[in-house]
């Protein structure tokens, strides 16, 4: 059966960036798990999120829905969800569905994490105190 593996880590260069490494297939059956991980991150007020999709070869609407439904809260708190390392099949869907208007994609985790700016001035906290 379909399986999903999710692991969570902090970016070594910028402690404020959370990296979510997903492996396997994100579909109706497995999306719940990813949703929980995302919710827990938001609960812990970690709003700078990079999703590493290198090991994911399939994302259904259930999966895309997770990103789309959380992005509002995340951005309201000055953070962002960035996607990294999409395999060509997934990237094609991402483009086809015009998700590129909503979610940014990067070639590597480092590149995506770098977009969040320096660790000493985390944009997330700055905006949240506003």
């Amino acid at each position: 059966m379909d399986n999903i593996g999710i692991s969570l880590s902090e970016n070594p260069l910028n402690q404020d960036v959370s990296e979510v490494r997903v492996d396997g297939v994100v579909d109706t059956m497995t999306a719940g798990e990813l949703d929980e991980v995302m919710s827990s991150l938001l609960k812990r007020e970690r709003y700078n999120i990079v999703i590493d999709l290198a090991g994911v070869d399939y994302i259904s609407s259930a999966g895309w829905g997770i990103f789309l439904s959380h992005i509002r809260d995340v951005r309201a708190n000055g953070g962002d969800i960035k996607l990294a390392n999409m395999v060509p099949d997934v990237y094609e869907i991402y483009e086809l569905l015009e998700f590129d208007n909503v979610l940014q994609a990067y070639g590597s985790v480092g590149e995506a994490a770098g977009e969040f700016g320096g660790g000493d001035q985390p944009p997330a906290k700055k905006k949240r105190q506003r």
Binding site: M1, G65, R72, D89, V102
Partner: protein, 682 residues
């Protein structure tokens, strides 16, 4: 153009998430069969998953049901249909989803359908006859190997042929050349070495005389120098005695009477054997022959000579033969290329015609010329095309006929009541689904007087166009004769009198005809050989089967009893909440995959169950439940009889309580001819 499907695939699955993999397998196989690109296939599979998930969630609300997958492959299109019998969902009419809005609201709904629409080229959602069909069409983008330019492919064939023949010819020529060259080289060396040895022996003869006659060094020197002068290929002539002291040296007079040191290191070898030496800048040979007088050894003659001559001669020969070879090869390649036209051209021609044919030009013929093999292909192809175009004509005719039958079917549908009339004191809902285009089933509901209405279902024996025509006739006749009627028995006798003179022999009709009188809430009905009527008593919660005797309409009267005598009229008094079901045998004879018939017992239980549900307040929900159950039972196996039923209920009086407002999501997915429930209840 050819618009006929190349292949059609049908499969059914229980509507459960764990069967999604099986659905995907079928889809994948179809995509491969259609020659779809792998990338396109991935997105198609995503759309299918979204479609199936939608059905499981919204049509079946995670309850059990069946999912039918139909895939039709055309030449450039592939059509995926996902069919269910659950609730029909209303896809976003605009078919557009604003992603930014989705982000703003944080909602996820509609994303699946949005993805389907993005991925597929066209998406339709059709609700008809109790089925919901999500029909998705995708243009096939073929694997690149699919159809490159014709010219290019032919060129490839030609190029391949030329390349391989060229390589083989080259290989043969080069090996032949190499063999000859090696032989020549060996011969030339043998000749040179022979010459040198003869020369050395001549010098040895003369020198031995000099040694025994004790000639002076100057004479020795003159001897070797003169030999070297007259033989330009010689580089050194040296004569040594047995103690290896130099007696004569053609290059350096000062070396005389000193130990002999060869100018280059000499590889080991016996006397009289030429040894190859890498001299400074040129290939040299070194030869030693003994210097002797009779049996007595006096010393050695050393000869160093150049093989340059051979090399230059070889070089000239090689140049000439390479030139010849190249010229031969160029001509060979041109010849091969031209020769390949001999068989490539007919193939190109055949391929062109076949293409034209496959794009719909059926009158294409292949010319009958060329080699025997091509002639054979042309013959076979022409024959095939004749056959195909003949079949095509038949198909066109058949299509025409099918269109006519469709017209009949449409006319027939107009005969069935589109909207059920408002009736005093009775809620009515009806369901009708034909097994094929034309049907022999009939149902009708119409008022016959101010307080009375007539309900009728009928089943004409046989199927197809004849049955449907008789059905049309019956409908008209019943409508005419039932006007104002009080006794359905009288009416049906009149109808029979009229019909028996106008019906083709061997055909008969079973009819269940009921007249409901709202003034005293009685239902009087007769059954002309029809299935029993089911009556659910609200008070006792019992379902009784009422089956008055009666012969079918159109039976010959010679059976002993006349139609009128056989017909028995029954009167039921209906209480508020009581429900009656008039149906045709399509329900009771619905067959499961195991070959089991649904039967009357199950139907009676089903009516009781469905009418007892909370949702039963809406009569449409009751009939929807019945249809669902029958479909689940028969598991989508091809319905072989029409399903028709009328459901009527005496409303329970509710003091001034309006029925709950209708919500669209609960609307049943059956093609139903029903009255607006709100007006019905009032």
């Amino acid at each position: 153009m050819f618009r006929r499907p190349i292949k059609e695939i049908n499969a059914e699955f229980p509507a459960q998430e764990r069967h999604l993999d099986s659905v995907q397998r079928v889809v994948r196989e179809a995509c491969i069969a259609a020659g779809m690109r792998r990338k396109q296939m991935t997105s198609v599979q995503l759309a299918i998953e979204e479609g199936v998930t939608n059905i499981l969630r919204h049509a079946y609300l995670h309850e059990k049901g069946m999912l039918r997958v139909r895939i039709v492959i055309y030449r450039k299109l592939i059509v995926f249909s996902l069919i269910d019998t659950g609730r029909s969902f209303q896809p976003d009419a605009t078919g557009r989803l604003d992603l930014n809005k989705l982000v703003e609201t944080g909602r996820r709904g509609g994303l699946g359908f949005f993805m389907i629409q993005k991925i597929m080229d066209s998406v339709e959602y059709i609700t008809s006859g109790g089925f919901n069909e999500l029909r998705m069409t995708k243009r096939i983008s073929a694997e690149p190997s699919g159809a490159p330019g014709l010219w290019r492919r032919m060129f490839t064939l030609r190029a391949k042929f030329s390349f391989w023949t060229f390589s083989i010819v080259c290989l043969i020529v080069v090996s032949a050349f190499w063999y000859i060259r090696t032989n020549t080289v060996n011969e030339l060396y043998a000749h040179l070495d022979g010459t040198a040895e003869a020369l050395a022996n001549t010098i040895a003869d003369q020198a031995s005389g000099y040694v025994t006659n004790r000639r002076s060094d100057v004479e020795f020197d003159r001897l070797v120098v003169s030999y070297q002068k007259s033989n330009p290929f010689l580089r050194l002539i040296a004569i040594t005695d047995t103690a290896n002291m130099v007696l004569a040296h053609s290059e350096d007079i000062h070396k005389i009477r000193k130990p002999y040191v060869p100018p280059y290191p000499i590889p080991a070898g016996s006397l009289g054997q030429a040894r190859r030496i890498d001299g400074a800048g040129e290939q040299l040979n070194y030869l030693m022959v003994p210097l002797s007088w009779g049996e007595r050894r006096l010393g050695t003659i050393h000869l160093l000579y150049s093989t340059e001559l051979i090399d230059s001669r070889l070089g000239q020969a090689a140049g000439r033969s390479w030139m010849l070879t190249s010229v031969l090869l160029v001509f060979g390649v041109i010849g091969i290329y031209l020769l390949s036209s001999y068989f490539v051209t007919p193939i190109v021609r055949i391929v062109q015609r076949v293409r034209r044919f496959s794009s719909g030009e059926l009158e294409t013929e292949l010319p009958l010329d060329g080699a025997a093999e091509f002639l054979e292909i042309s013959h076979a192809f022409n024959e095939m095309m004749t056959r195909v175009s003949r079949d095509r004509k038949t198909v066109i005719e058949r299509e025409k006929m099918a269109k006519e039958i469709e017209l009949v079917s449409q006319i027939q549908k107009t005969l069935l009541p589109r909207n059920l009339p408002q009736l005093p004191g009775l809620e009515v809902d009806a369901f009708y689904r034909a097994a094929s285009m034309v049907s022999g089933d009939l149902y009708d509901v119409f008022p016959v007087s101010e307080n009375r209405c007539c309900l009728a279902v009928a089943d004409v024996s046989g199927k197809g166009v004849p049955a449907s025509m008789v059905m049309s006739m019956l409908r008209t006749v019943i409508r005419i004769f039932a006007d104002g009627c009080e006794s359905p028995r009288d009416t049906l006798i009149t109808v029979n009198d009229y019909l028996s003179n106008n019906m083709p022999p061997g055909m008969f009709i079973t009819v269940l005809m009921a007249v409901f009188d709202a003034s005293d809430s009685t239902l009087r009905f007769v059954s002309a050989g029809h299935n029993p009527l089911l009556h659910l008593h609200q008070g006792t919660q019992l379902v009784s089967r009422v089956n008055p005797s009666g012969m079918p309409l159109g039976m010959p009267t010679t059976l002993g009893r006349s139609f009128g005598e056989s017909l028995q009229e029954v009167e039921l008094r209906l209480q508020p909440g009581d429900l009656v079901l008039l149906y045709t045998d399509g329900i009771t004879e619905a067959t499961s995959r195991g070959g089991e018939q649904y039967g009357l017992d199950r139907l009676a239980d089903l009516v009781l169950r469905e009418a007892g549900r909370d949702s039963a307040e809406r009569l449409q929900d009751v009939s929807g439940g019945i249809v669902n159950e029958i479909d689940t039972f028969s598991g989508f196996s091809k319905q072989n009889d029409d399903i028709t039923f009328i459901l009527a209920r005496v409303p329970v009086e509710k003091p001034r309580s309006r029925p709950e407002t209708t919500d669209d999501t609960a609307a049943l997915s059956v093609e139903k001819v029903s009255d607006n429930p709100e007006t019905q209840r009032d």
